[in-house]
């Protein structure tokens, strides 16, 4: 019995510690400011509950830090966090006061008396920094286009004589996309990268030219630019 009690309390303590340190240790200056906005404390003990994305914070008045929140109030906290997370991905701090009044603060603005289930009185300003999820989505889309360009670049389907771009340009070597626009000797005029890609399809590859809004031409351009990413621009360099 004694062992179980010891283990149990250690576990509880650990849990509390995790919850607490989860709340306190990572609080930065910005986060303190946010608390200040909602006027946390008011003399009351309060504890903080973070959403899993570390962007939504609910401060529960009347519950000391480390103490369990009563079930009905905990439900209200969870519902509020969910509402806020569904609304947007920006940082929002809310406070549930002892009298159950909810104050919401975002972008330095404070809104009083939010009614759960109702419209959030926050005006969405510019998105600012993209979230990690957004970045992943954007990168996945880019990678898809670059992969398609890679496939076309290595394919003999663009021409009629079996040649592929990669045969003269392994790893998009010698494409110099950073030097466009420039006077392209073969075209006898100033060209952009896609003009030269199209010319190469027609001439060394003996294929049909692509129209300038053809998805294949755009994918090829995307692949070439992605491969030479990081090279400084130098328009007109020969």
């Amino acid at each position: 019995m004694k062992v179980r009690w010891v283990v149990g309390s250690v576990l509880l303590g650990a849990l509390a510690l995790i919850l607490l340190t989860g709340g306190l240790k990572r609080e930065s200056n910005g986060e303190r400011e946010r608390r200040a906005l909602v006027g946390a404390s008011d003399g009351w003990a309060s504890r903080a509950v973070w959403a899993c994305d570390r962007r939504k914070l609910v401060i529960v008045e009347g519950v000391p830090a480390g103490a369990r929140i009563p079930p009905d109030r905990a439900q209200r906290v969870a519902d509020l966090l969910t509402d806020l997370m569904r609304y947007c991905s920006e940082e929002i701090t809310a406070k549930i006061a002892v009298d159950q009044m909810i104050t919401v603060a975002a972008n330095g603005q404070v809104y009083e008396n939010y009614v759960p289930g109702g419209p959030l009185p926050i005006v969405k300003a510019s998105t600012g920094e993209p979230t990690r999820r957004e970045r992943m989505i954007w990168k996945a889309e880019l990678d898809r286009m670059v992969a398609e360009g890679n496939r076309l670049f290595h394919s003999d389907a663009l021409g009629t004589n079996g040649l592929a771009c990669a045969m003269c340009h392994p790893d998009a070597a010698n494409t110099h996309p950073e030097t466009y626009p420039k006077f392209q000797v073969q075209l006898k005029k100033v060209a952009l990268l896609r003009d030269m890609v199209n010319w190469c399809i027609q001439n060394p590859l003996e294929g049909q030219p692509l129209s300038s809004d053809d998805a294949r031409l755009r994918a090829l351009e995307a692949y070439i630019l992605a491969k030479r990413s990081g090279t400084p621009l130098h328009a007109g360099k020969h």
């Binding site: 290595h154 004589n161 079996g162 040649l163 990669a166 045969m167 003269c168 340009h169 392994p170 790893d171 070597a173 010698n174 000797v185 073969q186 190469c200 001439n203 060394p204």
Partner: protein, 382 residues
């Protein structure tokens, strides 16, 4: 051996016609009408030939008028062989640009006067190792007048792991002696099995290997078995005998991502190192490429089909790059050439470009490590 295009009779006639007028030969050229011109030029050519300063070779028409300035031919060339390499043929008939280029190369070599002792084919005859591609290559090369020595490239190998090649062209490694030089041909495009585990079909395997930048394939190597053969074979050759090694890949480590690479290069070089004079002639890189490691000189061959760009890193300091090629000109950066072998086993490596001035990397330049750039603009491609 006649070192120009005049027959023996014409030379004798020219020499017999030599007279005090010949002092004024140059003056007579200034008032040259057609009849006079032909007679005069024959005389002049005859004189030039007799003086040994007329460049007989089909590739280079030296400016005989400035013969005093040009050194002409070194007197100690023991023999020469021509090369054709990396034809990458598709089986799409003779109107395909690669087939036309391969035939152009054969015509170049056949037009050489005098004929070279033999012709070396540096590998990659076919593009996808299909029997009809190899057969087309065999037919085109069969037009060559001089004897032919072949080695396979990876494009000749990975559809059927060399079965058709060996059937058509014999062993992928061999050796022979020629006028005091010992030649060894090795298969340096061996790759460790990357296809079985992934279940690639032969066609897929070949397409992967065909992609220079396709990282799914293994790196080239000579391999333990072949190194053992090489070592054992070379043990029978005197250290003082000049050695020329035919290889498809460079036999040194230039740029791994493009398989301009031989994984066991150091070990192969160690086997060659004891010999006094070693030259490696290799294909695969489709560009002017010169290197020296220890006592081994390395010279790359031009392709008839297309030029590779230079690798982003790893370029040997001996190499004077060729200028980036013009894609409008489907012959630019392409060509063939020859190797002149001196009596001491050193070589002059000639690059015969189809759309550019020829280049030569002489044995003297290799020894002194001062290799001049090409005549006219030919700046770095990167």
């Amino acid at each position: 051996m006649y070192r120009n295009n005049l027959t023996r009779k014409e030379i004798e006639r020219a020499l017999a016609e030599r007279s005090p007028e010949d002092e004024g030969l140059l003056r007579s050229l200034q008032s040259c009408d057609r009849r006079h011109f032909l007679r005069v030029s024959l005389k002049f050519a005859g004189m030039a030939a007799a003086a040994g300063i007329f460049q007989p070779h089909g590739f280079q028409l030296v400016n005989v008028a400035h013969a005093e300035a040009a050194p002409g031919e070194p007197p100690d060339i023991a023999f020469r062989f021509a090369y054709v390499s990396d034809t990458h043929l598709y089986a799409r008939g003779m109107s395909h640009r690669f087939a036309k280029a391969a035939l152009k190369s054969v015509e170049d070599v056949n037009a050489l006067d005098p004929q070279p002792d033999f012709v070396f084919f540096g590998g990659d005859l076919a593009q996808r190792c299909r029997p009809d591609e190899l057969e087309l290559g065999r037919q085109i090369l069969a037009e060559l007048k001089a004897p032919l020595r072949m080695i396979p490239g990876e494009h000749d190998w990975y559809f059927d792991l060399g079965q058709k090649w060996r059937e058509m062209f014999g062993p992928d490694r061999y050796a022979f002696d020629h006028k005091g030089v010992h030649f060894v041909a090795i298969n340096s495009i061996i790759e460790k099995d990357f296809w079985t585990a992934k279940g690639y079909t032969p066609a897929e395997r070949m397409d992967i290997v065909a992609g220079l930048d396709d990282g799914r394939q293994s790196r080239f190597e000579v391999g333990a078995e072949q190194r053992a053969w090489l070592k054992q074979h070379l043990a029978t050759v005197d250290r003082k005998t000049p050695l020329i090694v035919f290889s498809h890949s460079p036999l040194y480590k230039l740029y791994r991502p493009w398989n301009f690479w031989t994984d066991d290069a150091e070990q192969v070089q160690a086997i060659l190192q004891p010999f006094e004079r070693v030259t490696v002639i290799h294909g695969h890189t489709h560009q002017v490429l010169t290197n020296r490691i220890g006592n081994i000189d390395f010279h790359g061959l031009l392709s008839t089909a297309w030029p590779w760009p230079y690798a982003p890193q790893g370029l040997p300091e001996y190499t004077v790059q060729m200028r980036r090629s013009d894609p409008f000109d489907q012959l630019d950066g392409c060509g063939d050439g020859r190797v002149d072998v001196h009596t001491n086993g050193r070589v002059d490596k000639h690059y015969h470009f189809w759309s550019r001035n020829p280049r030569v990397v002489t044995a003297e330049e290799m020894a002194s490590n001062t290799i001049p750039g090409p005549r006219g603009y030919d700046g770095p491609s990167y």
